[in-house]
Symmetry: none
Subunit: 192 residues, 4 copies
DNA sequence: GATGAATGAGACTTCATTCAT
DNA sequence: AATGAATGAAGTCTCATTCAT
């Protein structure tokens, strides 16, 4: 699973052979099928772990802040785009390939969709909290959340393939700033 | 090439066998290698064609507008996120897989990087034109352009995997609106 | 046929594709099968031509000498091992491969055997003439002829694969000298 | 490897398919690539083994003789041309094809050249020992050695393709006798 | 005579999976 | 738990040969 992450990051899912996965995990190839029924099962487990890792990172980011809506939204963005100490370039590259496998394989798609749905609605909740706390219209919250998640996924792709073309300080800090701009431009509502 | 697009859209690059590619193109498998040296060469040709298609679409969108900076930026977004009559879901799905192949294969990466670099700098130019025409600061133009391209790529991914989770009217119209909001929030500069 | 010779010299028979053979002959691939039924037929024609070329060379070498038995034997050796103006390294290399094809393919084997049989008996005749003209025993003539032909074939192989290991002036002049030595060591017979 | 020897002896290298090689070795085709990276690697291993086999045969022939120079030279010839109990017609036929592959394939050529170089210099050493032990001139030793090796290689070719044309008792015994004749015709040197 | 696209069989090779030890 | 040999299906690619033009 850790082996798959490593190998997949540079060769993709199909390119990750059982032998390579095993070697990357410090095992022998024969043993892999003792722990996992099939190669697909390893992928499924990996997807689940990656999703959970990000969720955990968000939770741990929340510990350190007192919890204003703005802070929580920033923590979410930071957790998803972190390039800090717990950043993992392999995970980002692997995630790109997982995005493709979600198109091809029903079981991966299911987990992937569940994760993205939860991610989008989580983002939407946080955006709504900010908007409401500032007495702004929540009319656009769905679109703001969708844009936020799309920007995150797109940033993964660009980060993995054309890192040199991105402005320094891209990713988390900038998306936070941009989102603040977008939120600030939402109109205040009466009685907010 | 058209065959690869079709098959790749649902099975990815590795999953697109020569036989399937040939069948999708109405050919027999042996003939494929008469026209293309290797399977990779088909992919390379396809990537080039997809990139060019989007570029052409932008140019043709430009024909219909009189050409204010705002209109040109909207045309760019529309060309990249079009879900209208010339939309091509297969191309979007194939593009996801190409994003992965760009990580694995040096020759694909080269074309992909060139395309993305050109796409980012094109976007930046358009953003700058809008900012300057409105007397606004161009300080953030690089980041705005990067965010724009990231949002486009992310929208492809979400559109291909979780279309039901996106707000209706997502994609082009919304990103246009959002970008307008971002631009409007850039400060005016003296003497602009 | 000339095309096959050239290509075969560096790639062998199986490695010589119709396209390569055609190109080497200045033709297009489709035309080859207009002149030859199959690829094997080209090989058969080539073998026949190579055999005949050597025979012709022997005949033309004979023209220049007045025809003592010794001179005729020397001419034979020279014709078979010539490294002079009419030497053809490609033909030597191709002949190596033909020696292999004679093992695999019945039709090639037939021509090859006929050629070698004729070559051996020709050599034997010449050796006998020398022996008899000098009043020596002809008891060993078969073995001398066989050794001569073997040395010729072996010289082809060594010349094609390890030319640097051979003493300068190997091939014709040396084999002539050696053979003279062998003949000289045959005992004189009474009444010869 | 043993499978390749067997199949190659009658079909050549290109004609020896992996499936046939496997079957000849009593294996299934998939397993072949578990032990050998490529088909070429099998060939390389076979070439090395054949070379070594002849070397071993020479060493074992040396055991039985007390070791005069003449005896050692005879043992060398016998080891290389043996048609006795340890003769191997398949190995001879395969060696013919290897001679061709040495022209086509750089890695085979390397091993082949090393083997032939060593074979020629080994022969030269033995010839020199005989010449010196008999007080004869060593001037021609290089050419004698080259001729000896050429005769050996040529005898393989003739033995594999036109065995019926060779005098009975050809090969080892005869070449030994011939070489003795040649050596005997070398002049004695003063002080020898 | 000449062309080059088209065909289809078959080659090497890869690899997930199984299984005896 | 662990190993690594073994299997067999499937994939890419090559190429002699055919054929319409």
């Amino acid at each position: 699973m850790g082996g798959l992450l490593e190998v997949m990051a540079e060769r993709g899912y199909e390119g990750a052979t059982i032998v390579a996965i095993a070697k990357a995990a410090g095992l022998r190839s024969g043993l892999v099928h003792y722990h996992f029924e099939t190669k697909r099962a390893i992928l499924v487990a990996l997807v689940e772990r990656l999703v959970e890792t990000v969720d955990q990172r968000f939770k741990s980011r929340l510990q350190g802040v007192d919890g204003t809506p703005r802070e929580r939204l920033d923590a979410w963005i930071d957790a998803h785009l972190a390039l800090g100490p717990d950043a993992d370039p392999d995970a980002v590259a692997a995630w790109i390939f997982i995005g493709g496998e979600a198109i091809r394989q029903a079981d991966v798609r299911q987990i992937y969709q569940r994760a993205m749905t939860s991610r989008i609605s989580g983002a939407q909740q946080l955006v709504r909290d900010v908007l409401m706390s500032e007495g702004r219209s929540t009319q656009k919250m769905a679109e703001l959340a969708a844009l936020l998640v799309a920007a995150v996924e797109g940033a993964y792709q660009l980060g993995a393939t054309v890192p040199d073309e991105l402005p320094s300080g891209f990713a988390a800090p900038y998306v936070q700033r941009v989102l603040r701009g977008l939120i600030d431009s939402e109109p205040r509502v009466k009685g907010g």
